[in-house]
């Protein structure tokens, strides 16, 4: 644990980061910006796992291992999302959310 910093302050920080990500997810109109907002949300949840593990159960490893898994899944998701975005750009010529309306060719 960080000396002098309580768990509530860190959870406040991660909640603020989470809702900034949600705000970006709602307001942005570009697919890559939406991807960036999703990364913010995932990162704040990873910090939550780590903080709760460190402050409440410091002798266990569960939160740490789960955060490693979340990071791996996030990296996989980003790779797939980038592939899909590039394919969409090749087919429709734009990456705006409102113009990706056809699912199948």
């Amino acid at each position: 644990m960080i000396p002098g910093v309580s768990i509530n302050e860190i959870l406040t920080l991660t909640s603020i980061l989470f809702f900034i990500g949600v705000y970006g997810f709602i307001t942005r109109k570009n697919l890559i910006s939406v991807l960036i907002s999703v990364e913010l949300i995932l990162n704040s949840s990873v910090i939550n796992f780590v903080v709760i593990n460190k402050y409440l159960y410091p002798e266990l490893l569960q939160g740490m291992v789960y955060s490693i898994f979340i990071i791996a899944v996030a990296a996989a998701e980003t790779a797939l999302a980038v592939a899909i975005i590039i394919n969409i750009y090749r087919r429709t010529g734009s990456v705006e959310v409102k113009e990706t309306e056809t699912m199948k060719y």
Binding site: M1, I2, G4, V5, I7, N8, E9, I10, L11, T12, S15, I16, L17, F18, F19, I20, G21, I26, T27, R28, K29, I32, S33, L35, I36, E39, L40, I47, V50, K54, Y55, L56, Y57, P58, E59, L61, M64, V65, I68, F69, I71, A72, A74, A75, A76, T78, A79, L80, V82, A83, I85, I86, N87, Y89, R90, R91, T92, V95, E96, E99
Partner: protein, 202 residues
């Protein structure tokens, strides 16, 4: 001292997260995201999770951000400014987010957390044993599932991004002004010709 460092990191993270979701230039918002991820790595270093901080720096700051930058450079013109949502929609979504944040904070501050006072250092060897043990509190099954997931994602990304057949681009054609002009004139001439034929027949 550590409290001061934590607050500096928190301010950097929140400010760059706000900049990342509100910047109108794509590449800049990716770089602000990089600052947020590095701030998170700093938090892990402060909490004495060195291995996790190293993973955060290599996978997130090294892999994910570089992937996003690649896609930005492949797709977007750097100087182009993004379209943003209207003021009405921005205020509505900001209000919704503030509402959710207040619910979160009320729950967090109402719950009595019983922080364990002890601090133990986790070594990398313990993490490796926990990941590969198949006894109680072992994680061998999710570990193998993750490896299968990574393999399938690799194959899937290659198949999706490769494309393959040549596809028609209806939107590109629609947006191209010259082609629209040509199309209109062609249609007009085509319309005229049958009329003349009809007249001749009459």
């Amino acid at each position: 001292m550590e409290k001061v460092i934590f607050y500096i990191l928190a301010i950097i993270m929140v400010a760059s997260a706000v900049a990342a979701v509100s910047s109108r230039k794509m590449l800049r918002s990716v770089v602000y995201l990089l600052f947020v991820l590095m701030g998170a790595a700093g938090l892990y270093f402060q909490m004495d999770y060195n291995f996790l901080a190293a993973i955060q720096l290599t996978v997130y700051a090294g892999g994910v951000v570089v992937l996003i930058i690649f896609s930005v450079l492949l797709i977007q013109h750097i100087e182009m400014e993004l379209e943003v949502a209207g003021k009405y929609r921005q205020t509505i979504s900001a209000l919704i987010c503030l509402l959710g944040l207040s619910v979160f904070l009320a729950t967090i501050y109402a719950h009595p957390f019983e922080a364990a006072g002890v601090t133990t250092t986790t070594t990398t060897a313990e993490i490796g044993r926990a990941l590969l043990s198949f006894e109680k509190e072992g994680f061998i099954l999710p570990f193998e599932v993750i490896s299968v997931l990574l393999l399938s994602v690799m194959i899937g990304a290659i198949v999706i991004a490769k494309g393959g057949m040549e596809i028609e681009r209806p939107l590109m054609k629609k947006n191209d002004p010259e082609k629209i002009l040509q199309k209109n004139t062609k249609e007009k001439t085509e319309e005229k010709i049958p009329e003349e034929k009809n007249r001749c027949l009459k």
